[in-house]
Every structure is written in C-alpha cells, then in structure tokens.
Amino acid sequence: MLSETSEAIVLEQVGKRYLLNLYRPDSLKTALLHLPSVLNGRQRWPFWALDDISLTIRKGESVGIIGPNGSGKSTLLRIMSRIAPPTRGKVTVRGRVSALLELGSGFHPQISGRENAILNAVLLGLNLREARERMPEIIEFSELGDFIDQPMRTYSSGMYVRLGFAVAVHVRPEILLVDEVLAVGDAEFQSKCFAHIEKLRAENVTIVLVSHDLWSVARFCDRVVLLTQGRVAMDGAPQPVIHEYLSRIALLTSLPTPLPSGAPEI
C-alpha cells in the first residue's frame, strides 16, 4: 500500500518558529505578572529556525544534511521525525521512522543492559516480541557479552553508546534519521557501524544523515542538502554541495573584518 508512492518524506514550505524569551512564562508567577504581554506575545522574540523549506526525499535515498552550527539541521530532523510540529507548512512522512537523535534515550543506570535495550527498542518502534527476538543480534553487535545482564551504571561510556547504537540499527526502520551519532566507540566499532549503515542502504532504507563529518557524508549519501540560516542554500550531488560549503567556509575565514551577521528575519 505504502510502496505505491516513491516519496518517503515530503516537506512543503515548512517553517519553524521559536519564540525566544524576553519573559518566558516558565512559572505561574512570571506568567501572571506579565500576563498582558504574554497573551499578545509582544515580549517574545520570534526566531525562524527553519524558513520555507521544501524538500522531497524519495524512498531508498540517502540524504546528507550539512551546514554550520545553528543552521537548523537538528530542527529539521526533529520535524521530520515528528517530535515537534512545524509552525507552518506541511510534513508528510511515509513509512516506519526511527530517529537516532541520541543514543540510548531513556536508558536507566539502575537496570540491566538487556532490560534497557528491550525498552529502548520498543520506544524506537518495535513491539515486544520483535524486540526480544532481536536481542541476540543486538547483544552480539554491541560486543557486551556477559555485561548485558549487569546494571548499566557499571558500563563504560563506550559500552553505553555501543548498546545504544546496536539497538537503534536493529529496529529496522523504513526511514532512518541520524543526528551526528555515528562517531561512537573505537575505530573498529565505528567501521562496524558504517558497514551496518551501508547494509541498510543496500536494503533500500531511506536515510537522512546530519553530520559535520563531511567525509562520511560524501561516502554514504547520494544527495546532500546545505542549510544556512534555516534555508536550503544548495541541494544536489555530494561533491558540488560539499565543495560549495567548504568554499563558503574558506571565504568566511579569510575575511579580515568581523562578519556582518545575517540580517534578522524580523
């Protein structure tokens, strides 16, 4: 039913506005004291983290999102994963999404790696039976061995992220959204992660990868989108887009005077 269409993610003129606080009513008292201004929003500063983004990502495509800090990459992933709604525009996502915005979300240090892995897998989209079935693969991939039944507070940070990654990639999504989490573990584990992403790609999983690591973006993506100040600056084959990004950085760093900051939207 879902395979009839070849579009996995469609964003139409998506904008995301954050109201930055002059007075954020984070308690009843401040809200009451500033009630008139809170109601008409005058005391808040609208900031468009994303502005007029239109993107179509086809099934099986691997798309890299690059851009400087604060350009809206993570906001974009959050909107694609439907964790936060856009302020305007339309988002259509077809297929089971697994968003890897952080490894091991919800892991609890007091309980065992196994129990954490099962809960995490169900959080990420599996049902309980599937999660239990995949546990042997997850344990093997994580290389935790007997440690899997120890409470997670005994784990090293490397073990922690290895388990997080192992669960995330075994959820077998149709769409995988990854935010800068691939740089985990030692070199050997990293290459294993990359090999696994490569395998998912071969299985026609749609992948959206946010990364500052331009080398892995070039290696894994069929297409790269460059974001700057919440807008799509360039969208196309990896080489030219990465080249454009690098030449912009070169241009900026060679400027002798402080940068004129981009004109605010408002």
């Binding site: 809200a31 007091q110 129990e115 989209g125």
Partner: protein, 258 residues
C-alpha cells in the same frame, strides 16, 4: 491502515507495561524492606491517626483502625499517583525531545505502578478485617474491579491534565502537593460522609468522596456502591474530556518547551 493502527495500539500497551514494571522494580531497589515500604507508610499513618482521633479525640466509630485503612489504601493510590505523575512529562524532557512515542504512557505508567501497590495492599486489609471478625464476600469480585476501574479512569484524566500543564507551569508540582494535602481532609477518610450533615452536597462535589465511601462500604459492610458512585463517574467523564483536550492541545509544544 488498520493493521498499522492495531500494531501501534499493541506497542503502546507494551510500552506502558514495560515502563510500569521498570518503575515497580526501581522504586524500592537497594532498600532492605523493598515493597514492604508501600505498606508501612499507610499503616504508620493509620496508627498515628488511630491514636489521635480514636484514643484522644474519642471519635465514636467502631473498628476505627479498619475504617481508616479501608480509606487510606485507596487514597494513597490516588494521591501518590497525582503527585508523582505531575512532573512525568517535565522530568522526561530528554526522552520527549529525542524519541517519538506515545507520550501519555509516562503519566499512565505512574498511575498503573501505584495501582499495583494498592492491589497488593488488599491482603493486608483482609488481615485487619478478619482480626475484627469480618469476612470477605464474593461481592468483592465485582466491587474491587469496578471501583478500581472508576478510580483508574478518574486518575488517568486528572494526571493527563495536570502533567500536560506542568510542562509549561512547573508551579503545578508544588500546587498539587499543597492541594492534595488539603484534599485529604475534605474527603471522608477520617470521618464518615454522613457526619458532614448539611454540607453533604458540597462534599459530593469532591469526586473522591463517593469513591472512598464506596471502597469502605465494600470492604467493611460488603455492599456494592449505590447511586452516589454516579457522581464519581460523572467526574471521570469530565476529567477524561479535560485531560485529553489539554494533552492534545499542548502535546505539540512539549518538545519545544522542555
């Protein structure tokens, strides 16, 4: 489409179970007495209240210890759930910001966890009943599930409402604590509803009043709830409507507010 919806429903249910079991496990981990703490707290409160009100203030109520405990156990379920579920969205910001999942499982698992503690306290109540010369009745098999269901539904509406607003107004955590303390005294826990006299209609505006009375009548007098329970059921509907309404409107802003 239906298959997907069913799958999601099942996953949501399993998520709720997993979170509830985790909470049950974590609550008394590394304590020596473990689950017994869940019984000690209302029992100690009951003992002090018995001393103060029956021995000193000379409340004229037979089997006052039973009278108290049959209300204290369900009240503890209620107040602990509201208190602990209020910050359940706000304190799980990291999860809400990073993972897409049905968020309402967070407060519901707190309610379910406290429900399990309540159900496990019924055998203790039974000991007190037998000691006072009472007998359990087969009516319990109808009454306990019925009242559990009403209280569960009431709690689900309330915690959804309070936890949703708490994301934006953290004051609610303090407010619910104060409010629950006051609520305790205006609910017929220490005294029977009939003592309220002319104020009785006012007391029936409290959804917990008929519910506590019904628990007590079931455990002590082996009678099923009368028409007064409909008051509580009406509150269930109101709480559910408000809770679902607030959650739906506010949920979209959770990830941005936390």
């Amino acid at each position: 489409m239906e298959a997907i919806a069913l799958r999601e429903l099942r996953r949501t249910w399993e998520l709720l179970l997993l979170l509830t079991f985790r909470e049950l496990k974590l609550r008394y981990q590394d304590t020596i007495l473990g689950f017994v703490w869940s019984l000690i707290k209302p029992l100690l409160l009951g003992a002090v209240l018995y001393l103060a009100l029956r021995r000193i203030a000379r409340f004229d109520i037979p089997d006052y210890q039973l009278f108290l405990l049959s209300a204290l156990f369900p009240w503890t379920w209620f107040s602990a759930s509201v208190m602990l579920a209020t910050p359940s969205f706000a304190h799980n910001g990291n999860l809400i910001k990073k993972v897409r999942f049905p968020r309402f499982v967070l407060p519901f698992s707190v309610v379910a966890n406290n429900m399990v503690h309540f159900l496990l306290s019924i055998p203790i109540l039974l000991v007190f009943i037998l000691a006072a010369g009472g007998r359990p009745s087969p009516l319990w098999l109808v009454g306990i599930p019925l009242l559990t269901l009403v209280q569960l539904a009431l709690l689900m509406g309330i915690v959804l409402l309070v936890a949703s607003f708490d994301v934006f107004f953290r004051d609610l955590e303090h407010l619910t604590e104060v409010f629950l303390n006051l609520w305790f005294y205006v609910t017929p826990i220490l005294y029977p509803l009939e003592w309220t006299g002319r104020l009785k209609p006012l007391f029936l505006l409290n959804p917990m009043s008929p519910l506590i009375e019904a628990w007590r009548n079931l455990f002590i007098h082996n009678t099923l709830p009368g028409p007064e329970l409909w008051v509580s059921i009406a509150f269930v509907a109101a709480a559910a409507a408000l809770g679902v309404g607030a959650f739906r409107r506010l949920e979209g802003g959770f990830a941005d507010a936390l």
